[in-house]
């Protein structure tokens, strides 16, 4: 009975993950996974000694409530940090299981040491990722942190030998060191690389599950954990390829935030435009390409953008396309989620390879809150974190409209020479507000 349920559960999970491969089936995939998990939870509770059942149920209820409230409170643009944090909690759970297993045991085996290490590291690394993605921590002095983390690594290796003997103080010490290591290791990593990091941590949380499964001889945990571990690793690989980053570089190259210091401009160097200018340019164009970035997410401009596209298409017969960079925003597919939310037809949305040849023939490109993903320095500035990342080749279009609040750099901390080009019109202000004004203007103008 137990084993056939285990099999049922992992089959449901495999089918769920498989469904995630197409937008049409992905939602159902999630439901399959929820069904599998519900079976697991119920079965787990039933098999519990009756004296513990009530406590476990309360823990689950409390945790579940916190999780759901947390998720509800999260705005869509905060989803990436939420995913990071949740991931960390999974790691923490494994770590705690590992610690509890070692209490009252004379000797730890390697498995248990691994569980504690990986679990705690995943937890604290995810928390660090959460802070970085929320913008709560900004790091300048990466070198010191890196040297510190090497020392911590050494300390935790040493402490693992002591922990091996099963004394609780040492085990706790080892756990804390592992956590510290994760934190210090993730902290100095370039912000632009955070999605890769989340993916790595995701994969680690899978491997934690495998390790716990191995220690408990539980085939369900082993299979599911390995599945997630492997899929996370592959996802990491695919992402590093999409960003043209090497994994080792992501992990070990210090960020140099001051790389743009030799590139100081003021608002006098730019050509400022008004929403009216923008509306005029776009309604007279044959072809407009819209390039959204993190700023669209931050200002929640997607619905206005959808209105703008609709008016341009219907009223002014403009050929409108959306060009989406694979790492625009703060997580892969971030823009797609938002544009889908605003009911923008998928036929209008194009990936980097399809849209890049089109910039040449477009009349106007409307960049809203995108910066790094259109930054031509990616081609030339060797010491930048985005060097050699493929960009959207916005610079080939006749007129460039850029909406952002200031001349502040993007996520990678890099100034953007496009802002100062003659053919660029800067629309300084909140993305949603400016787009709304453009829409109003478009509505009033006669075609």
């Amino acid at each position: 009975m137990n084993n056939s349920l285990n099999i049922l559960i992992y089959i449901l999970f495999i089918l769920a993950i498989n469904r995630m491969s197409a937008t049409r089936t992905a939602y159902k995939g999630n439901i399959l996974a929820i069904i599998g998990m519900s079976i697991a939870l119920i079965w787990g509770l039933i098999n519990l000694k009756s004296e513990y059942q009530i406590y476990a149920a309360i823990s689950i209820l409390l945790g579940g409530t916190v999780g759901i409230i947390g998720s509800r409170r999260t705005t869509i643009s905060q989803l990436p940090q939420m995913v990071a944090l949740l991931n960390g909690f999974g790691g923490l759970a494994s770590g705690l299981i590992g610690i509890s297993e070692t209490i009252n045991i004379p000797y730890l085996n390697f498995l248990q040491i691994f569980i504690i290490f990986t679990g705690c590291l995943t937890f604290s690394g995810s928390v660090a990722g959460f802070f970085k993605l929320s913008g709560l921590i900004k790091i300048n002095d990466t070198e010191t942190i890196r040297s510190t983390s090497i020392i911590i690594l050494l300390l935790s290796i040493i402490s693992s030998f002591y922990a091996h003997n099963g004394e609780t103080e040492y085990i706790i010490g080892f756990a804390l060191l592992s956590a510290l290591l994760g934190f210090c290791f993730i902290l100095p990593i370039g912000g632009a690389d955070m999605p890769i990091i989340i993916s790595i941590l995701n994969s680690l949380s899978g491997w934690c599950t495998t390790l716990v499964g191995l220690s408990l001889q539980n085939n369900l945990l082993i299979i599911v954990g390995t599945l997630i571990g492997a899929s996370g690793s592959i996802l990491t690989y695919i992402m590093t390829k999409a960003m043209n980053r090497h994994l080792l570089k992501v992990l070990f190259t210090p960020i140099t935030t001051n790389q743009s210091s030799n590139y100081q401009h003021t608002e006098q160097d730019i050509h400022k435009g008004t929403p009216q200018d923008a509306a005029f340019l776009m309604e007279n164009a044959h072809k407009v390409i819209i390039v959204p970035g993190f700023g669209m997410a931050a200002s929640g401009a997607q619905q206005e953008l959808s209105n703008m596209a609709n008016i341009l298409i219907k009223k002014y017969k403009v050929d409108v396309k959306f060009g989406i960079h694979p790492v625009a925003g703060r997580m892969p597919g971030h823009m797609n989620v938002l544009l889908a939310e605003a009911d923008i037809s998928p036929e209008l949305i194009f990936g980097i390879n399809e849209i890049n040849p089109e910039f040449k023939t477009a009349d106007v490109v409307y960049v809203i809150g995108a910066n790094d993903t259109i930054n031509p320095l990616a081609k030339t500035q060797k010491d930048s974190t985005i060097y050699q990342m493929p960009i959207l080749e916005v610079e080939q279009t006749k007129r460039i409209l850029i909406v952002k609040r200031s001349l502040a750099p993007g996520y990678a901390g890099l100034d953007n020479p496009l802002f100062y080009e003659k053919k660029t019109l800067m629309l300084l202000g909140d993305g949603k507000k400016i787009t709304k004004e453009i829409v109003t203007q478009l509505e009033n103008d006669s075609n």
């Binding site: 999970f13 495999i14 993950i17 995630m20 491969s21 197409a22 937008t23 992905a26 939602y27 999630n30 998990m37 697991a40 939870l41 787990g44 098999n47 519990l48 000694k49 513990y52 823990s59 945790g63 999780g67 759901i68 947390g70 998720s71 999260t74 990436p80 995913v83 949740l86 999974g90 923490l92 759970a93 494994s94 705690l96 299981i97 610690i99 509890s100 209490i103 009252n104 995701n202 949380s205 899978g206 934690c208 716990v212 499964g213 369900l220 945990l221 599911v224 390995t226 599945l227 997630i228 492997a230 996370g232 996802l235 695919i238 999409a242 997580m331 597919g333 989620v337 938002l338 889908a340």
Partner: protein, 95 residues
């Protein structure tokens, strides 16, 4: 049994590999979020261990583990559903 254990690890790894390889980048975020929620299955480990818990400390540690794993599970599925619902709605309007 050792022999089969390594087979299971390898085969599961391959399944992870195949299942992910075709996913469009567009769905990478929801995918991560779903797999993340699924990895909360480790909660079964905590529940199983609870049966053998001998001291209050381990019981409390395991209950905390159950709490956090539940946050991960419920929050993770909820976040995923939120992301995926948008795609789903869009798909309907197009049909």
């Amino acid at each position: 049994m050792e022999i089969y254990l390594i087979d299971i690890l390898i085969l599961s790894g391959f399944i992870g590999y195949f299942a992910i390889w075709n996913v469009t980048p567009l769905l990478h975020s929801p995918l991560m979020s779903v797999t993340n929620a699924i990895s909360g299955i480790v909660i079964l480990g905590a529940l199983e261990n609870l049966n053998f818990s001998s001291t209050p400390i381990t019981t409390i540690l395991l209950l905390i583990a159950i709490f956090f794993a539940s946050v991960n599970i419920f929050g993770g599925f909820h976040v995923s559903a939120r992301m995926l619902k948008m795609f789903k709605n869009k798909d309907k309007t197009n049909e």
